[in-house]
């Protein structure tokens, strides 16, 4: 190991978590194991990009099966992010949280189901829609 970067660590910032390393190192011969000390993969860290604004919800219904979202799956939802064309969003429709695919077309906004049995919903403008959050990942159990 070589030192590549030296800098001041701010003491006022949030606490940092540091993986535990063996402290007693034999002088003269660095242990090769030191280079491989690492914590197990933390799913939370990799699946949740914005912890305070991330929420999880369970899907009820099969209108989104074509998008790989089935009844009983869990969605990770990022709140407060700007929805883009093609995003799967949680829209508030008649007081209910509803999963749809958002289409921003030249002429207006369309909320699409991903199942031919369900109709699409047309809205003249995005501002008339209440989007609660953007679903960015689907947890789909395989057993």
């Amino acid at each position: 190991m070589s030192i590549q970067d030296i800098r001041a660590v701010p003491v006022t910032g949030p606490a940092m978590e540091v993986p535990m390393m063996p402290t007693a190192v034999q002088a003269g011969f660095p242990s090769p194991a030191l280079d491989f000390v690492h914590e197990s993969i933390n799913l939370q860290e990799h699946l949740v990009y914005d912890p305070p604004a991330t929420f999880i919800a369970r899907v009820s219904g099969d209108s989104m099966v074509g998008a790989g979202i089935s009844h009983g799956d869990q969605l990770l939802i990022h709140k407060g992010t700007r929805p883009r064309d093609g995003d799967v969003v949680i829209a508030v429709l008649d007081g209910q949280f509803t999963v749809k695919r958002l289409r921003l077309t030249g002429t207006g906004v369309r909320l699409e189901a991903a199942n031919p049995e369900y109709p699409d919903i047309e809205v003249p403008e995005l501002s008339e829609l209440s989007i609660w959050g953007v679903a960015y990942m689907c947890l789909h159990g395989l057993r």
Partner: protein
């Protein structure tokens, strides 16, 4: 010129806003959140206030007419509120390096930069919390904590401010006008008793307190109130970290002469310890926000080692023996029947000075106000510690810790089984 300012960020109708964040049907309707056991209103939306409902209103009286008014009640969902409170602090932490949690729905945050930048900075925080958490906040910014609190009141009450008020950005005449209309008891740190003493000397408004002789105020009400005077003049006296001196803990624990091995006896132990811990809280004029009840086996008994504990976040800082006694019972399900416990205790943390949080009255449990605590206290002083007790501490069969919460919304963010449901149809 660069300035150091403090913001007080406060969620409007916090409990109700948390409920609304996960239930769009509550938007625009009168909503109440009820106390433990669904007894009475502890928080409400602006629409409910407009119906003339006040904190403490008993639910059984409101219920018959609820439907006619479109009034919705929810049992208090402390897990949800606690989790949202944590998220709220995290978001503020992204905007400031100095954040101090003040209560479940209030935090101070430091700002350094030009005065003109303070308004846009506060507005960014307000928008961020609204967009990422669906929580509406009011933000007051001032040179001191006391002024930040005061600006926060203005931010909420003056319609044109739309939730953000930078005290130092207002012109001097306008600030005088606001202060001369603000009753002295609405200032942070001025309790009803102090307000009465001040009124006796003609000090009835914020402006009058600011202009009072600081030494005179010190003689009348002590150094704390003198600091309030100086803070109203823009001189910082109450530092962000000063709160720490109250943040110590209080422990009441004892070893048993005979090991305790049943839940029934442990329930009595917990009730009795909770009430003694209360006595100590009272003698220090403090209130606790968090209670940990714990027990342990002998350190020499490694064969059946067990040290169960349960930590509860109380809805509001309290010194209410009823609430604390009930909270301490949370240990019982964690212990193993038949194990010989040799020591148990109650640790109270998150202590704050009693009455130092006027903005928090809204969340106070009604039975915690005056009433039973001091009464128990008086009896104990006259007749000894064991002369009177509550619940199992009084050796009576008491209500179960399980609270009645019939109208509780799901604990969306803390329980996997209760997560939000979204419809695909």
């Amino acid at each position: 010129m660069s300035k150091h300012l403090l913001a007080l960020v406060d969620v409007n109708s916090f409990y109700v806003s948390c409920e609304r964040a996960f239930d769009p049907t509550l938007e625009g309707r009168p909503v109440l959140v009820l106390s433990n056991n669904d007894g009475c209103a502890v928080a409400m939306s602006a629409e409910a206030k407009e119906l003339g409902i006040t904190v403490g209103a008993p639910w059984f009286k409101l219920a018959p007419n609820a439907q006619r008014h479109g009034l919705v009640a929810r049992s208090s969902n402390y897990e949800l509120y606690g989790d949202m409170s944590h998220r709220f602090l995290q978001v503020i932490g992204e905007h400031s390096h100095e954040v101090e949690k003040y209560s479940i729905d209030e935090a101070f945050a430091g700002y350094g930069g030009p005065l003109q930048g303070a308004g846009p900075w506060a507005e960014r925080i307000r928008r961020d919390i609204a967009e990422r958490l669906s929580l509406p906040v009011g933000i007051g910014v001032g040179a001191t904590k006391t002024l930040a609190k005061l600006a926060n009141l203005a931010a909420k009450r003056v319609p044109g401010m739309r939730g953000v008020c930078v005290w130092d950005g207002l012109d001097a005449e306008y600030r005088d006008w606001v202060m001369s209309r603000l009753p002295v008891q609405q200032i942070w740190g001025v309790g009803p008793r102090s307000a009465k003493k001040l009124a006796a000397h003609g000090v009835t408004t914020a402006a009058a307190l600011r202009d009072a002789d600081a030494q005179f105020v010190r003689r009348l009400l002590g150094v704390t109130m003198m600091r309030t005077v100086l803070e109203l003049r823009g001189q910082p006296c109450i530092q962000l970290e000063e709160e720490r001196e109250f943040r110590d803990s209080l422990v009441f624990s004892r070893s048993f002469s005979t090991p305790v091995s049943t839940r029934e006896i442990m329930a009595q132990v917990m009730a009795s310890y909770a009430q003694r811990a209360c006595t100590r809280l009272n003698s220090r004029s403090t209130e606790a926000k968090t209670l940990t009840a714990w027990a342990m086996t002998s350190q020499f008994n490694s064969a059946a080692e067990d040290s169960p504990s349960a930590t509860l976040s109380l809805p509001a800082p309290t010194n209410d023996p009823v609430l604390l006694t009930r909270a301490a019972q949370a240990l019982l399900p964690r212990m193993t029947e038949g194990t010989r416990y040799t020591k148990a205790g109650i640790t109270l943390t998150d202590l704050s000075p009693r009455g130092a949080q006027p903005a928090f009255d809204l969340f106070a449990e009604p039975q915690q106000d005056k009433g039973i605590g001091p009464l128990l206290q008086q009896v104990r002083e006259k007749s000894g510690t064991d002369a009177i007790g509550m619940g199992r501490g009084g050796m009576r069969t008491a209500a179960e810790w399980e609270m009645r919460r019939e109208m509780m919304s799901p604990r969306y963010t803390t329980r996997w089984q209760e997560m939000l449901e979204v419809h695909a149809r």
